[in-house]
């Protein structure tokens, strides 16, 4: 039964990606002016436009163009950017690496911190640390990320001169130099994503804490720490995995503001640039990468929830 459910989720994930690909394709075509028009500019004659359209395959019916585009996408051929004529894969390649580096470092720091703080707050509800955590997370959730980023720059770069105000990346940096260079965006993003994860962990555990089986554990004389870690955490893990996945997806696709403030060459910024210059193939490729990341992460979270459910793992 469990395998069946997992396979089902995977099938749904693939279907979602395909549906999104259709939407992305149709939406970008709805934008005024086609690629040939953009490339040749306002002064192009209808004859030259027609020649270029034929060359680009734009004279074919829409669905055929879609399948050609989809086929290219799967073989890694993301097309050629209008700006400078470089291949999109080469444009995206480096940016994708940068984004993954930042996201990975933030995840590595924020997930353990969030779970530990969330558990701690749940273990001592109403204590001073719990109140600080609750107040702190609420504040950071309600404050926009660019505000946090700006405050960071003001404190650490302008006043204290501890850290560079922009994220600097160079090829021959050591890991420590890299960490110092990325410190500002990392700290900002850790603050932003941890708040949600801490609150969810705390709420999930406290919700389970009112179950009769927790009362039973108390009446068995089980210490509070073990009640939380062994009895409550296992039953609260489903929603926690999901909020982690959502935040990771945000780290890949939603950090454009932070990237802009720290001038970090990431994927989200590349996509915004693509929109500004009407570089449709680039926008399509970025959209597909973001969507696939989302679907994959949610898929992993779903499968995690299924596997962590003993009713599904051990059927009758």
């Amino acid at each position: 039964m469990m395998l069946q459910m997992v396979l089902r989720r995977i099938a749904i994930g693939i279907a979602t990606i395909l549906v999104v690909s259709v939407i992305v394709f149709v939406m970008t075509r709805l934008l005024p002016g086609d690629v040939a028009q953009i490339i040749l500019g306002q002064g192009a004659t209808p004859e030259t436009l027609a020649v270029l359209r034929k060359e680009l395959g734009l004279d074919q019916p829409g669905y055929i163009q879609y399948f050609i585009w989809l086929g290219d996408l799967f073989t890694g051929d993301l097309g050629i950017s209008k700006a400078g004529g470089a291949t999109i894969s080469s444009l995206i390649g480096g940016r994708f690496g940068n984004t993954m580096l930042l996201a990975g470092l933030v995840a590595l720091i924020s997930i353990p911190i969030s779970i530990v703080l969330g558990l701690w707050a749940a273990m001592h509800p109403g204590s001073w640390l719990d109140r600080i955590i609750t107040f702190g997370t609420l504040s950071t959730i309600s404050v926009p990320e660019f505000f946090i980023a700006t405050i960071m720059v003001l404190i650490f770069a302008v006043e204290l001169h501890w850290l560079p105000s922009t994220a600097m990346l160079a090829d021959n940096m050591s890991f420590l130099e890299l960490l110092r260079g990325l410190a500002m965006p990392i700290i900002t993003l850790v603050i932003v994503v941890s708040a949600q994860m801490i609150r969810m962990t705390r709420a999930g555990i406290l919700n389970v804490m009112s179950s009769p089986y927790i009362e039973m554990a108390i009446l068995k004389g089980v210490p509070r720490g073990r009640i939380i870690l062994r009895h409550a955490f296992l039953n609260a893990i489903g929603p926690i995995i999901n909020v982690i996945a959502l935040n990771l997806a945000y780290l890949v696709s939603g950090v454009v503001v932070v990237e802009t403030i720290f001038a970090y060459p990431g994927l989200a910024k590349l996509m915004i640039d693509g929109v500004q210059t009407r570089d449709l193939p680039l926008v399509q490729a970025c959209a597909m990468i973001f969507c696939t990341t989302y679907v994959l992460l949610i898929l992993v979270a779903d499968i995690g929830s299924i596997v962590s459910n003993p009713r599904l793992r051990h059927p009758k």
Binding site: S211, P212, Y213, E215, M216, A217, I218, L219, K220, G221, V222, P223, R226, R230, H231, L234, N235, S308, P310, R311, H314, K316
Partner: protein, 633 residues
């Protein structure tokens, strides 16, 4: 008697516990309670809900439910005061010196941890046993509690065993650390009678073997009579009367104790229901189910993936109460869902006043929907907490009858009056009402549709016995007044026997016996009906031991239900089964007088003979049944 029975284990002295409301006013819950428990003794705390019995029992573990506070007195366990013990000491005592068994094992076992770990956890944490020793002791307890596959049941998860097994596993969990005192909080109340008797037997045996003392909390005097040495009768946080079991059961002195004894329903027997008035009778049944098979999952050739009900024929006559009885999982609720159209049957028909109904809800006409109404078990979840009672009852009036404004308002008042509630209740929210009042609103909501048939699914099961009895009275009155028919689903044969006109006995998705209540409750019985009737506890010390010696108990108890397509499903629990026939051929329906039907391979004469044989062996039992017959007549 044991030598250490004279030694005091627990002394409760003038115990006081209070709750505090939103205005910080003190509301006393337990008002100065004093009693002792000696080693090896089982003390029962009995009373209705709200009597404070659970609160008092938890005090022996130095625990109060959230919102409650100890305000006075002492609870001495082995001479040590539990109420003033520091937090760390409390934790040491819980599970090691005093262990708790809750009402619903299904909710108190952690779904994510194996049974074995949960059973041994306390003993290992408190350093009483090493993990290996604890595992060994757990297996010994599984054997003592007669659990299936004792060597491996510990590796399973809670959802993989049955409710009755979990209840016994919880006893193993409590006993693993060899506590001095066990606190059993209504441990059999949520169980079917046949499961209850099996769990009671296991508890009694284990308590005796381990020579541990116990507090047994319950509202059921008949159960108490089987297991307790000493009884404390509570009402509203005060002790009304206390004494040895014999004293209290055979010679109650306090008026409240006598009232509790009267609330113990008589043994299910013929002649307890009320007759139907002639003015409502008609030729065509109000609702009928014909040759119906239903289940869940995809349907292939009229066979669902999981068959729950098979070849069901049931007719509900106008202004009749049809009681549907059977153990949990036998398909009672599924039958009601098919009748209501919530679950389209795989095969067969549902007919309303002789006209075939569509299987699914969506295809039924408005007038058809209006005539069949469902009353759900839990009023708490069935009533929208954000809606005023007036809106809850007014909605069906609008939807089915197009009533609005003043007209609707007047009708709501009228319906409230029918369920014996004041019209002002229309301006209240469900949470402002008591459990019994909410159940009346739940009924009123269905009643507002002005139905022909009301399907009541375990509507009294969550209620106190006295409150439940009042709801039954109301149902009878409604039937007499309006001529509505009831399908009354219950696992409690006593309740069904007290007011049903007809009884349908379901077993493993099949009708094993049905007919007029007086016929079904009189011999000859289907062997399963016999088992059900014998399993209802009697208010008599020694009843459990007598009953366990009966043939049908020896065969029928502690066996799980098998749902099969061929043969008689009851074969593996039947004392009268014919090898080679019953397990292979579907039993024939034998028709007796007045439409009484028994589905069995044995002939009516054979069944009658078997019954006479049982009665001869159990002379005492025979006398008692005579008594309850007289009481009902």
């Amino acid at each position: 008697m044991n030598e250490n029975t004279t030694e005091k284990l627990l002394e409760v002295k003038d115990l006081r516990i209070s709750a505090y409301n939103d205005e910080k006013q003190e509301i006393p819950i337990v008002k100065g309670v004093t009693f002792d428990i000696y080693k090896g003794q089982v003390v029962a705390l009995i009373g209705e809900s709200g009597s404070g019995k659970t609160t008092i029992s938890l005090a022996s573990l130095s625990y109060t439910k959230p919102g409650l506070e100890f305000t006075g007195g002492q609870v001495l366990l082995n001479g040590e005061d539990m109420l003033t013990a520091p937090p760390l000491r409390k934790r040491e005592i819980r599970g090691a010196n005093a262990a708790y068994l809750a009402q619903s094992a299904a909710a108190t076992f952690n779904p994510a941890i194996t049974i074995g770990e949960q059973v041994t956890e306390s003993a290992v944490l408190h350093g009483i046993l090493s993990q290996e020793e604890a595992n060994k002791r757990a297996v010994e307890l599984y054997y003592a509690l007669e659990l299936p596959d004792p060597d491996r049941i510990g590796f399973r998860y809670p959802h993989q065993v049955s409710g009755g097994q979990l209840q016994r596993l919880m006893a193993a969990m409590a006993l693993c650390g060899k506590p001095d005192l066990m606190v059993l909080d209504e441990p059999t109340t949520a169980l079917d009678v046949t499961t209850q008797i099996e769990v009671l037997k296991a508890f009694k045996k284990v308590i005796h073997e381990e020579n541990s003392a116990a507090i047994y909390v319950t509202h059921d005097l008949a159960v108490v009579a089987q297991i307790a040495d000493y009884i404390v009768v509570l009402y509203s946080g005060e002790i009304m009367e206390q004494g040895t079991a014999e004293q209290i059961i055979n010679n109650p002195t306090h008026a409240y104790t006598r009232r509790l004894m009267e609330a113990v329903r008589p043994k299910p027997a013929a002649g307890l229901g009320t007759a139907v008035g002639a003015e409502h009778t008609r030729d065509i049944p109000a609702l009928a189910v014909k040759e119906m098979t239903a289940g869940y999952g995809g349907i292939i050739n009229g066979e669902p993936a999981v068959t729950i009900l098979r070849d069901i024929n049931v007719a509900v006559d106008n202004a009749h109460v049809v009681g549907v009885i059977g153990e949990s999982g036998c398909g009672k609720s599924t039958l009601a869902r098919v009748m209501a159209g919530l679950l389209p049957p795989a095969r067969g028909d549902v007919e309303l006043e002789g006209v075939k109904l569509a299987g699914g809800l969506q295809e039924r006409k408005l007038s058809e929907l209006q005539k069949v109404q469902f009353v759900f078990q839990m009023a708490d979840t069935a009533l929208n907490p954000k809606q005023l009672i007036g809106n809850i009852i007014g909605r069906p009036l609008e939807f089915y009858h197009g009533l609005r404004g003043k007209e609707k308002h007047a009708k709501v008042s009228e319906i409230l009056k029918m369920v014996e509630l004041p019209p002002e209740f229309a301006n209240r929210y469900p949470m402002e009402l008591s459990g019994g009042q909410k159940q009346r609103i739940n009924l009123a909501r269905s009643l507002a549709a002005n139905p022909e048939v009301m399907l009541c699914d375990e509507v009294t099961s969550a209620l106190d016995s006295i409150v439940g009895a009042n709801v039954i009275k109301l149902l009878t009155a409604l039937r007499d007044k309006t001529g509505v028919s009831f399908v009354f689903i219950s696992h409690d044969l006593s309740t069904v026997a007290s007011f049903a006109d007809e009884i349908v006995v379901l077993y493993a998705g099949r009708v094993v016996e049905q007919g007029p209540a007086d016929e079904v409750l009189e011999p000859p019985f289907h062997p399963y009906t016999r088992l059900l009737i014998s399993s209802v506890p009697e208010l008599r010390i020694g009843w459990l031991e007598d009953t366990m010696q009966k043939r049908e108990m020896a065969v029928g108890i502690a066996k799980s239900v098998e749902i099969k397509a061929t043969g008689c499903p009851f074969y593996n629990r039947c004392p009268l089964g014919i090898d080679g026939t019953c397990e292979q051929k579907t039993p024939p329906i034998r028709t007796l007088e007045n439409g009484h039907q028994i589905t069995c391979h044995l002939t009516v004469d054979q069944l009658t003979e078997a019954e006479q044989h049982t009665q001869k062996i159990l002379h005492g039992f025979e006398k008692l049944e005579d008594k309850s017959l007289n009481a009902g007549a």
